[in-house]
Amino acid sequence: MDLYEHQARELFDEYGVSVPEAEVAGTSKEARLIAERFGGPVVVKAQVKTGGRGKAGGVKLAAGPEAAELTARQILGMDIKGHTVRQVMLARPVDIAEEYYVSYVLDRATGGFLAIASAAGGMDIEEVAAERPEAVARVPVDPDRGVTAAEASRIAAAAGLPAEVGPVLERLWAVLVKEDAVLVEVNPLVRTTDGSVVALDGKVTLDDNARFRQSRWGEGDTVRDSELERTAAAKGLNYVKLDGRVGVIGNGAGLVMSTLDVVAGCGARPANFLDIGGGASAQVMADGLSVILSDPGVESVFVNVFGGITACDAVAEGIVQALGAVRLTKPLVVRLDGNSATRGREILEAAGHPLVEQVPTMDGAARRAAELALTG
């Protein structure tokens, strides 16, 4: 789960990293009141969980309360890369002497974290790394020792950053470890004209697998792009909304991803990713079908199950029961293969639902589902 900038700012503040004075507003009126309290100019920043806010016009300087209200009105409701701006953060500007980049990222290749630091802050770090790799220091962090004071100085020095950045790196490491984050990024980290080091922006991604021991942000902060994703999440389904016409249900993340690709290869776009996992109970099948059928774009549904541990006859029973609970409004193509596939196919055949069609192979069934979606 990604945090909003203002949440990252709050965390940094708590761990002793200097941040600008700032408050969050949900309306332009609130923005004005905050600006009045601050006095003088304020920076108005869109709160969305995506990059490129500046380029999209989501970050602006306002001279005073009136300008802040006007700017907030422009930014609130704005769409930035598919994310609607619902809140703005108003921050007191700081006088910048230098801008840096620092982050801790997970390095899959080594199975550990990497400190990335550069004296070229405020820019897209991937571009800097591509054009001037020597300007970006990448220092692996020892998983057992973490970032000690000595290690923090070493990282700062490797990037040519002043010694004052060291303690900030140490505190950001504490944020990463104690909050179970998999990414902490500050761009820019600035040195102000009066010599203090301030995190002007912040991106923090928390580990969803650590939720059981990190309750602070709760479930409600997760951004779901669509109503369907919210409904699916509430039912505990592993669902991602896409924009095509073939609804997809399968067991196992890899097989479902593969199913989407095979459907796309047949000329139709998949409407969603939905992994119902190993068990594939009637309830999960019914929940999955009801979410997919409430997607107005869906013209056909493809159920693709490979019976491994789960036997296909149990899956077929689940489908039959689900069809008793959910009214099927679109054709359903089912492919059952693997463990007890013959019995499973017989059960579906015997149920004789007029909208259910069985195709024995994955490629054949995908073709059929695509065909039905394109003609339906």
Partner: protein
């Protein structure tokens, strides 16, 4: 022959007495695995009876009794175990793997899904230092058909044969084993779909290259990270056996986690296209569907 797991392997199950542990220990036993003990400090000293009737492969031995030990150390001392399969819940996974590595076990197979990243980083690093190989977490484990099964891969899909398989995905592993059941496999390793895993595609490629019975390797990848790209470089420099690839996730949108914690395209990195291109650039044929992948393998093996 096989990689990492043979009929000589003596397997402990950490978390054997839980529901998943019981279910899969029974299946492992039926597949011929030497499960020599379970580990659970609260149930140490007990012995668990497994009824294997109704499971294919169980043969004449319709039952087995497995002792429970308080610690991995005790289990090793009593049985000479060299492999551990971990079914404990995510919160206890780090302690379980660390304990197994400290006890000197050679291979730990972590089935548990939902392990926090910081825990995985810590126990992988610890295990590496101890010289313990970890497979997983969030994986189906590995099977050497006809010999031993450490994990949850269905043992009755196919038997021994000339194909080695390494995969990030469980169900795609089963699908390919099924499609290629007429040939059979030396070993099939599900390395898991998490961002931090113990055994990589490269580790398996290296082992399959050295395994005289493996004639061809099937490599299954998916979006996220650059493990497949690194595997491609390794193949170019070190692998002489034919490799056939399959990559899932071409239609996955950027920034969305597709089921597996590690399956995410971030910006322009981790795409299926890039992985396919990297593999094809080093001469690996990559199938566009699992079935086509099986066809490519079949063409190689029946040539």
């Amino acid at each position: 022959m096989a990689i990492f797991l043979t009929k000589e392997s003596r397997v402990l199950v950490q978390g054997m007495t839980g529901a998943e542990g019981m279910k899969h220990t029974r299946r492992m036993l039926a597949a011929g695995t030497q499960v020599v003990g379970g580990v659970n400090p609260r149930k140490a000293g007990r012995a668990i009876d497994f009824d294997l009737s109704g499971l294919s492969g169980a043969g004449e031995s319709a039952g087995a009794t497995v002792p429970v030990f308080g610690t991995v150390r005790e289990g090793i001392d009593a049985t000479g175990a060299d492999v551990s399969v971990v079914f404990v819940p995510p919160a206890f996974c780090k302690a379980a793997v660390t304990e197994a590595a400290d006890a000197g076990i050679g291979l730990v197979v972590v089935i548990t899904e939902g392990v926090p990243v910081h825990d995985a980083v810590a126990f992988q690093s610890h295990a590496r230092r101890r010289g313990t190989r970890v497979v997983g977490p969030n994986c189906p484990g590995l099977i050497t058909p006809g010999q031993s099964n450490a994990g949850i891969v269905p043992a009755d899909i196919t038997g021994p044969g000339p194909i080695g398989l390494v995969s990030k995905s469980g169900t795609l592993t089963y699908q390919l084993m099924y499609e290629l059941s007429e040939f059979g496999f030396t070993s099939a390793v599900g390395i898991g779909g998490d961002p931090v895993i113990g055994t990589s595609h490269i580790d398996c490629l290296e082992a399959f290259e050295d395994d005289p019975d493996t004639e061809l390797v099937v490599l299954i990848g998916e979006i996220g990270g650059d493990a497949e790209e690194r595997a491609a470089e390794y193949i170019r420099d070190h692998v002489t056996k034919p490799v056939v690839g399959y990559i899932a996730g071409f239609t996955a949108p950027e920034g969305k986690t597709m089921g597996h914690a590690g399956a995410i395209v971030s910006g322009s990195s981790g795409t299926a296209r890039a992985k396919q291109q990297a593999l094809e650039a080093v001469g690996v044929r990559v199938g566009s569907t699992p079935t086509e992948t099986a066809r490519l393998v079949r063409a190689h093996l029946t040539r």
